[in-house]
């Protein structure tokens, strides 16, 4: 047993850090570190920068253009990005649909879709949830009916993250009404510019437009855009869920946010407040304990024995900690965080109150989503219980 990374791994991290240092605009990093809202261009610009280096596809196999990094290297890359304040890599393209295309797509599909994902040029979103199908995803009702070389898609998706910017959406659609609900689902790629696609951004309680409703009204989708076999969609979705696991705890961002919390406590003059300090100390313990869990999963992957039973725990604990971080920042700031200063949320100047504290309450509100999305924590506890009790 050994806690420390190897000299090679540390050297790798230093290289990554140096590269980020040379390529990440400090003003953009400052926005990220201050918890400000980012524009489409800011997010996509950084993705393209990574794409030019070949690092947006950092989790892909070398054969498909990935850098061929080990799980530990991927983790160290995530860590370096997080600590530097890089804009988040939106997972829908490089982390979610790409592995599906790699695993289930035809060579033609791979050649058609992967380059745009790897370069950051094509913005993807995920069409899974529907108004009536959240935790019970298999009950989804958006239907795709075969019409020659096309599917005709009708239905509605919701909670579609950043669909308002997206070029493409990958969807689970119903291609067969009979049989078990799981057995009639297919995995379809849909061009957002197709006639019949309508997007309505949903205002969230922090005032931000981050998710959308997406309607499909007789949208014609070439059969060539189906990944895998017809009615094989559920298998693909499960594969994707297991693939999504790696960074599910978001430990690296939480480590960075813990530092931000500590700096905030110092700046607000409550670093020596016993009660708040204890809360921070407890959270530090929680984060170290989560990091040990993450490292154990990484080490297990490294030795080829993936610790599958820990993934749901990572999601539960990781999301709780993300929420607690925002909660404590709000408590540290106190009533001065109450003004809702819309311009300050994107870094614009405001005359009143204190702009630096403005993002804290919206972020606290926004992060309530982490225990809801990606399989609510109640669903995750069901999964853990299933492995224990059958």
């Amino acid at each position: 047993m050994e806690l420390a990374f190897t000299p090679e791994e540390r050297a790798f991290r230093n290289e990554v850090r140096a590269w980020i240092d040379a390529h990440l605009d400090p003003a953009l990093a400052a926005k990220v570190l201050a918890g400000l809202r980012l524009s489409k261009d800011e997010i996509q610009g950084w993705a393209r920068t990574l794409g030019r280096q070949g690092w947006l596809a950092y989790r892909w196999p070398r054969a498909f253009g990935g850098p061929g990094w080990s799980p530990v290297q991927q983790h160290l890359f995530d860590e370096a990005l997080a600590e530097a304040g890089a804009p988040p890599i939106l997972p829908f393209g490089p982390v979610m649909v790409a592995p599906v295309i790699i695993a289930f797509g035809t060579p033609e599909q791979q050649q058609r879709f992967l380059p745009g994902i790897a370069s950051g040029d094509v913005w993807w979103c995920q069409g899974y949830s529907e108004p009536g199908s959240g935790s019970d995803l298999a009950s989804l009702r958006t239907r795709a009916e075969r019409d020659g070389a096309h599917y005709v898609v009708n239905g509605q998706k919701t909670w579609t993250t950043l669909a308002q910017h997206a070029d493409w959406i990958f969807c689970l659609v119903r291609t067969r009404a009979e049989g078990k609900p799981q057995s009639g689902i297919s995995f379809l790629l849909i061009d957002m510019k197709s006639p019949g696609v309508t997007v309505r951004p949903i205002r969230l309680l922090d005032g931000e437009y981050e998710v959308n409703e997406v309607w499909f009204d007789n949208v014609r989708v070439p059969v060539d855009n189906r990944i895998g076999e017809e009615n094989q969609g559920w298998t693909i979705a499960k594969y994707l869920l297991s693939h999504e696991r790696a960074n599910i705890a978001d430990i690296n961002r939480s480590k960075r946010e813990l530092k931000r919390l500590k700096r905030l406590a110092q700046a607000e003059g409550v670093w020596d407040d016993v009660r708040l300090r204890d809360h921070i100390a407890q959270l530090e313990v929680d984060i170290v304990a989560l990091e040990m869990l993450v490292l154990r999963v990484l080490a297990a992957e490294k030795s080829g024995k993936p610790a599958l039973d820990i993934a749901a725990l990572l999601k539960i604990r990781g999301s709780e900690i993300q929420q607690r971080l925002t909660e404590l920042m709000l408590l540290v700031a106190g009533p001065m965080a109450l003004p809702y200063l819309e311009p300050a949320l994107t870094g614009l100047p405001v005359a009143a109150a204190d702009a630096a504290l403005a993002p804290l309450a919206p972020r606290y509100f926004n992060l309530r989503k982490t225990t809801i999305y990606g399989g609510s924590n109640e669903i995750q506890r069901n999964i853990v219980a299933q492995t224990l009790l059958g």
Partner: protein
């Protein structure tokens, strides 16, 4: 020992609730938020219901009512997620009656009853939950005073006719009456997280009238009244949040059944009910203890704010969680309940602050009765 409402109190509660249901719909409230968070029509209606003068003595044109009436009113208005600063106005009225002196009272109490808005302006950049941390300076200028400093998060601050402002005078902390028309007043309004309106108030050698009472004592009185009223209002919000959640659990289906049939969610709802009932009792406790001697009053209010704060956070967070995706949207009431509860927890001293007061003032006894 008796927790029944009198017929008059029941009538008051029902009248307020009926008005809210009829006139203060979620849609109107949404429009009010979009328009800046303060609706003078709503304020007018509250005035007509007698609520702006609820706690003003009858001799000054008010209804002369007490803590229980304040409790039932704010609970009903909390339930409706009222944006307008009725509670803050009552705190100002309480401070005016406590330390304002007869001259100011004679002029202003009737105006409060008639719907003129006066609010406390106490919070500063470094005060957090300790309103005694005051940097605003007061200097004597003949027979009046001049104030210089900046106050934050003043409820509907730019809508007020006057403010009660805390400042540091040469002889210690004091309270001042500052009128809207005074020189050197600068206002920067903004919405708060819950959509209500507030403002920064900047004073530059602004003429002001000093409240004759003991400034620290009146400030503490105002803080205790404010915290107790926040408790009452929060209970109303929590009732709404639990009701919405119960409805949702009954109607939302997943896996072919209402999600309210899943035991883990049922137990969560039971825990929310527990949190609500504990908070409800403590809100009563805080209001009824407002007439107790200062030390006892302060300890009681602190205990109540701890319980209510904890209940508010738990209920707010769980209500959102049990709603799933729609819980985090702006379009459904539940997210607004959550934001309002968050704001109330952070107002007039947060949970941690009040736990500190409880811990510091703790003695061997912990009885509430007799």
């Amino acid at each position: 020992m008796d927790f029944d409402l009198t017929d008059e109190q029941l009538q008051l509660r029902d009248a307020v609730a009926r008005w809210a249901e009829r006139a203060y719909t979620f849609e109107r409230r949404r429009a009010d938020i979009a328009a800046g968070g303060f609706d003078s029509g709503v304020w007018q209606a509250l005035t007509e219901l007698g609520l702006t003068g609820l706690t003003v003595p009858e001799v000054h044109g008010g209804m002369g009512q007490g803590p229980v009436e304040a409790l039932v009113t704010l609970q009903a208005l909390g339930n409706a997620l009222l944006l307008e600063p009725l509670a803050a106005a009552w705190v100002a009225a309480a401070m005016l009656q406590h330390g304002g002196g007869s001259a100011l009272q004679a002029v202003w109490l009737p105006r409060l009853a008639a719907g003129e808005l006066v609010v406390p302006a106490l919070l500063e950049r470094r005060s957090r939950h300790d309103l005694g941390r005051v940097a605003c300076q007061a200097s004597a200028d003949g027979d009046h005073w001049r104030l210089s400093g900046r106050k934050h998060v003043v409820p509907a601050g730019d809508q007020a006719a006057a403010w009660i402002v805390s400042a540091r005078a040469p002889d210690g902390l004091a309270l001042f009456w500052v009128e809207r028309s005074a020189a050197g007043v600068h206002l920067s309004p903004y919405p708060l997280q819950d959509g209500s309106r507030a403002a920064d108030l900047v004073l530059e050698a602004t003429p002001a009238q000093r409240l004759p009472g003991n400034g620290a004592a009146t400030l503490q009185w105002g803080a205790d009244v404010g915290a107790a009223l926040a408790c009452a209002q929060a209970v109303g919000v929590m009732e709404r949040a639990l009701a919405l959640t119960v409805d949702y659990l009954k109607t939302r289906h997943q896996f072919g059944v209402p999600i309210g049939s899943f035991q883990a969610l049922r137990h969560r709802a039971a825990d929310m009910k527990m949190a609500l009932e504990l908070a409800r009792g403590m809100a009563v406790y805080a209001l009824l203890k407002l007439t107790a001697p200062e030390a006892e009053r302060r300890q009681a209010v602190a205990r109540a704010k701890v319980q209510v704060g904890q209940s508010a956070r738990f209920i707010g967070q769980q209500a959102v969680q049990l709603h799933g995706g729609i819980g985090v949207t702006d379009e459904y009431a539940i997210g607004h309940c959550f934001k309002t509860l968050t704001q109330l927890e952070l107002s007039w001293g947060d949970t941690s602050h009040h736990l500190g007061i409880v811990a510091a003032g703790m003695t061997e006894e912990a009885n509430v009765g007799a």
